[in-house]
């Protein structure tokens, strides 16, 4: 029992980060905090993929004398792509927040809502 919990500690970290990020996205009214939450949420998925690629007692996937077990490099390559996607999403999200701040003068969700309704 203890072994399962400690042995899978990376997955526990993934779950913790995932829930923390997801909660922040849903719960926070500040547009920048939402983006930060989204980032944490996405990062947890990166960790999940990297954990999947690990092979017990495997080394770096470089062919060399004396090593026969290698970690699976494919998930790591996939996650490089996903990191690029995550960075672009963050950049675009923050750019939108800058434009929203210029147009509304605030980045709080409820204040923006009030300004739209008062028109």
């Amino acid at each position: 029992m203890i072994d399962t919990i400690i042995g899978h500690y990376n997955y526990w970290v993934v779950i913790l980060l995932m829930m923390a990020g997801f909660y922040t996205v849903i719960n926070r009214g500040n547009l920048i905090k939402k983006i930060a939450g989204l980032n944490i949420f996405q990062t947890s998925v990166f960790l999940l993929y990297i954990s999947i690629g690990y092979v017990n007692e495997g080394t770096t996937p470089i062919i060399a004398e004396g090593f026969t077990r290698y970690a699976n490099p494919l998930p790591h390559v996939l996650i490089l792509t996903a990191i690029v996607v995550g960075v672009s999403t963050t950049a675009l999200g923050l750019a939108l927040v800058v434009r929203i701040k210029r147009a509304y003068g605030t980045i709080e969700e409820d204040e923006i809502h009030d300004k739209d309704m008062s028109l």
């Binding site: 996607v85 999403t89 509304y104």
Partner: protein, 494 residues
């Protein structure tokens, strides 16, 4: 030479064209270049469809790496059909875009606007073409990120908040998809759809597979605006530039429906759907989506917003068709993907024409406009009849197949929901007809002229297509039947 590389060219040509467009001088040059590219892709997609129409498939190995190690483009009738819808709508939207974009987008932004449009186009084409689930995720993000930008380019400041909201919801959906792909990769060690299907069959009872399936379905449901995950859609379509409302409403959700079909039936299988009772969930969410979204449409006083709510309802019909998990049901879904692109494209084009002349799509500003813009009003009227499902229009064919599928399984309640949904669409379309034609014009506004020809021609092409495909159903139904057979779906037996 071209024929062998056809399926890759469809993705590579617009991908290379996008950065080129961004470097062209602002004005009409980028528009003309984009127009050429979309028409070229349209021709290629027709060619591709004629190759796979007989039920054969094309397998293309990217970079010469044999599947399942390399990325494979696996084209069958369904892929080719969705590609045809996307490129056809893009080709018809571009002539329409010229005037509306000049009206709504600043001149210095036009090169970038058309570059981002091409990126969105390439994303949607890529989703339809690829046979690799991770590749699909990447294309999904290309199309999503570019559509956030396009929506954010709307004139009103609320376009920004609509784009932001869509970005948050869309990114959550995409991340869910990524988690799902990761979990099924951990179980099978492959990303190729055909190979995944083979390897998943023996382990369909594993809990990881089930969890992965749930993440995939919820992620895609966010993208296709399935009730109750539809809240991002009305604002996004309402505040987007007119040409983008047309393009996205006619293609984006349809492509998401395609992804759902692919993941559920090709990657998993129809047996898995039945073991997990997902078909029941699809039926329920589809039925509630039809009722809630159609009722929602009735309580709005803005053409574009009513049409956006109607889009949610129509997508719910497609999910309903998948829920029947029978040949007839999924055929109805595939046929409706095509027909809905025709009718919603025409309707949003007409709404955009009114926005061009009046500057608003709110009822209070457009009372009686239908008499001053008779051709635009006639287009709304005919496309509206198609949306309702009057015989002689394309909408009738889809509704007919949905009813057949429901009656075949003696799902009386669902059949009633389909009929009632049509009734609700009569109500909200009638509200539009009444406001545009029968209501007394507000005296303050000066009379306006008919929409320019560059808007009327694409609009009426789609309207006439609505009538043509309502009478001649050979193409749509035969393609849909071939596609459904290749998805491994069988007829319903008691």
């Amino acid at each position: 030479m071209i024929e062998q590389n056809l399926c890759l060219l469809l993705v590579v040509i617009p991908l290379i064209a996008a950065p080129v467009t961004a470097m062209l001088p602002a004005g009409r040059t980028p528009w003309f270049f984009t127009l050429t590219i979309t028409w070229l892709c349209f021709v290629l997609s027709i060619w591709q469809l004629t190759i796979v129409l007989d039920g054969s498939t094309i397998s293309y190995e990217l970079g010469g790496w044999a599947p399942p190690w390399g990325i494979e483009y696996h084209i069958d009738a369904l892929n080719a059909f969705v590609t045809l819808i996307v490129s056809g709508i893009a080709a018809i939207t571009l002539p329409y875009a010229l005037r509306t974009v000049e009206n709504e987008i600043q001149r210095r932004d036009t090169s970038l606007f058309y570059a981002v449009f091409l990126l969105c186009f390439v994303g949607l084409l890529g989703i339809a073409q690829t046979g690799d689930v991770f590749n699909l995720f990447v294309f999904l993000e290309i199309s999503s990120l570019s559509s956030y930008v396009l929506i954010g380019m709307g004139q009103r400041r609320r376009a920004l908040t609509a784009a932001y909201q869509y970005l948050i919801m869309g990114s959550i959906g995409a991340t869910f998809l990524l988690i799902g792909i990761g979990l099924i990769y951990a179980e099978t060690g492959t990303l190729n759809m055909q190979d995944l299907h083979q390897r998943l069959q023996p382990i369909l009872d594993h809990r990881t597979v089930h969890t992965g399936f749930i993440f995939l379905v919820v992620g895609i449901a966010l993208k296709l605006a399935l009730f109750p995950l539809h809240l991002w859609l009305p604002n996004a379509y309402k505040y987007a530039p007119s040409a983008i409302s047309v393009f996205l409403s006619a293609t984006a959700t349809k492509v998401a429906v395609y992804v759902m079909l692919r993941i559920v039936f090709t990657v998993f299988s129809i047996d898995f759907l039945k073991i997990t009772s997902t078909e029941f969930i699809f039926l329920m969410l589809g039925a509630f989506g039809v009722l809630v979204a159609s009722t929602g449409a009735i309580f709005h006083y803005d053409i574009k917003r009513i049409l956006a709510y109607s889009s949610i309802a129509q997508v719910s019909y497609m999910v309903l068709g998948m829920g029947f998990a029978s040949t007839l049901g999924v055929t109805a879904t595939v046929v409706h993907m095509f027909n809905h692109a025709l009718m919603k494209g025409a309707l949003f084009m007409a709404a955009g024409a009114i926005v061009l002349r009046i500057g608003s799509s709110k009822f209070e500003n457009i009372y009686g406009i239908g008499r001053q813009m008779p051709w635009t009003f006639a287009a709304i009227f005919i496309a509206g009849l198609s949306l309702i499902g009057i015989p002689g229009t394309a909408g009738f064919i889809s509704k007919w197949y949905f009813m057949l599928a429901a009656l075949e399984q003696q799902a009386w309640l669902i059949a009633l929901v389909i009929l009632f949904g049509s009734l609700l669409s009569v109500v909200y379309m009638w509200k539009i007809f009444e406001a545009l034609f029968f209501h007394r014009p507000t005296n303050t506004s000066p009379p306006v002229s008919e929409a320019p020809l560059s808007l009327l021609l694409p609009m009426w092409t789609l309207v006439l297509a609505n009538i043509y495909f309502g009478i001649n159903t050979d193409l749509t139904v035969s393609v849909a039947e071939t596609a459904v057979r290749l998805l491994g779906i069988t007829a319903y037996h008691e």
